[in-house]
Symmetry: C2
Subunit: 255 residues, 2 copies
DNA sequence: CGCCTCATTGATGTATTTCAAAATTTGTGG
DNA sequence: CCACAAATTTTGAAATACATCAATGAGGCG
């Protein structure tokens, strides 16, 4: 079972452990889960609107995003997923896709058949609860996005997304100090924030101008966390991280 | 167990059955679930940001809504819930509330202790799957709201919400022909759609002017379903109704 | 070097907000 | 069932955040 890419199910176990404590038997069951590792090119649809997937994927490397396609070529990006995330766990119980899932970058994913997953969850109700919890955290992210789109203006929206992407990456060891990769292009960030890429660009200039962040080379650096969270009205409760109350603490651990 | 208000767990069974077929043993377990029926006044917070609920509630009568409170008195309504819905099922696995849940109208709800629920789900994995599915449908609603807020303009947003509220009420027998109650006030609809109540009001005039809907006395009547869904770019896939493919059919049944 | 993608900037248009007030409906006690 | 208060809806005028259109500039890469 174990092979390159950091032992896929190990990664999942670590992620789920950060969400709610796994028992030893849950962990063992997880490590036994059959799966296939696959390399996917960038900008490649994994599942499309209308599909009926028979497997779920775990992101091992790269970025994945979820989007709704609109008439007239419009697109709303619903969420971004990084290493350790289970972006289409929902297809286990929601049989028909109501949106699309695609790679943003070249990705390495592990595919897990629904049948195998169901069998393991039947024998490990605690694990089922943890995955259920994971999908509820996904929903919590959605709620926060709704609040952003509905009631924050562009500056706050962008700041809020930056806070979220930073903390989520830090939680899985992908940040360094107050810097993290910022993989989506401006057009993609805009499609996720309900903005035009033109306007997003102007907002970014403002954020830089006020000394809140630095951007460059696909990296986001937060220069003033307190000011950024203030502009964003950011409260990390919605991330539902299990043991990571303070940003500063993990920043130290992650480096 | 059975008492007024149409036997609470019967109502839940019927709702869940509309979401995915229940086995007889699932249904029996459901009907045995201990619960307390409570009357709640209108505009009353059921659970608040930061709370750690030990029970979940089932709506038997009235409307409930979920909202995030922002600085400066702002508010984003995240979703509306009607009879048969389980609005805070999530607290079963997400222990700390990241938003608020409140009654819109006077309500009758059934309260189910998490411990009792967990015990029943442990013995009925199929039922657990159905409830998991219910929470995933909740998330599907959120996704659609994100798309609306991010990429539709006011007219389409309002039209989309009307289509959704009509179909959801029809699915539980609360619609008559092409009419249904429209309980939220304009200020609440606005807070849910990321609009000002002033602008929402102008949009409503436009919808009426174009002959798409009629409004009055807390009732929404859809005058031109095809035109309304066209304006909204509405596709009901996201509702994930199990056996209700065509609006026309249930409209007839519901009357 | 030249091509392609992505980021940046300017000028102009518009959807929506804000502020303020009037009209209408709803609820309630007498 | 009416009178009155409160809540809700409706309208106008002015301000603004963001979109649209169009072009230029700055990297990567074969």
């Amino acid at each position: 079972m174990p092979n390159g890419y950091n032992a896929p199910m190990e990664m999942l176990a670590r992620k789920l452990d950060s969400i709610s404590r796994l028992t030893e038997s849950d962990r063992a069951a997880l490590l036994d889960l059959p799966h296939t590792v696959r390399n996917l090119p960038a900008r490649h649809d994994i599942v499309r609107f209308g599909d009926r997937p028979t497997q779920s994927c775990l992101v091992l490397q790269g970025w994945v995003y979820r989007y709704a396609a609109l008439a007239e070529g419009g697109r709303q990006i619903l969420s971004f997923y990084i290493a350790g995330d289970l972006p289409d766990l929902q297809s286990l119980h929601l049989h028909r896709m109501d949106h699309n899932l695609a790679t943003l970058t070249p990705c390495v994913v592990a595919l897990i058949a629904h049948d195998d997953l169901r069998a393991v969850l039947l024998r490990n109700p605690g694990l089922a609860g943890t995955l259920w919890r994971d999908s509820l955290i996904d929903a919590a992210h959605y709620r926060e996005r709704i609040t952003s789109l509905g009631r924050r203006q562009a500056l706050g929206r962008v700041a809020h997304l930056f806070c979220e992407l930073y903390l989520r990456q830090k939680a899985v060891g992908l940040a360094r100090g107050l810097s993290c990769p910022l993989v989506p292009k401006q057009a993609e960030l805009a499609d996720s924030l309900g903005l035009t890429s033109v306007h997003l660009n102007r907002v970014l200039r403002t954020l830089r101008g006020r000394g809140l962040v630095t951007l460059g080379g696909g990296t986001l650096t937060i220069e003033d966390w307190d000011a950024l969270t203030a502009v964003a009205e950011f409260d990390q409760t919605f991330l539902h991280l299990a043991n990571n109350p303070l940003p500063a603490r993990e920043a130290a651990e992650a480096v």
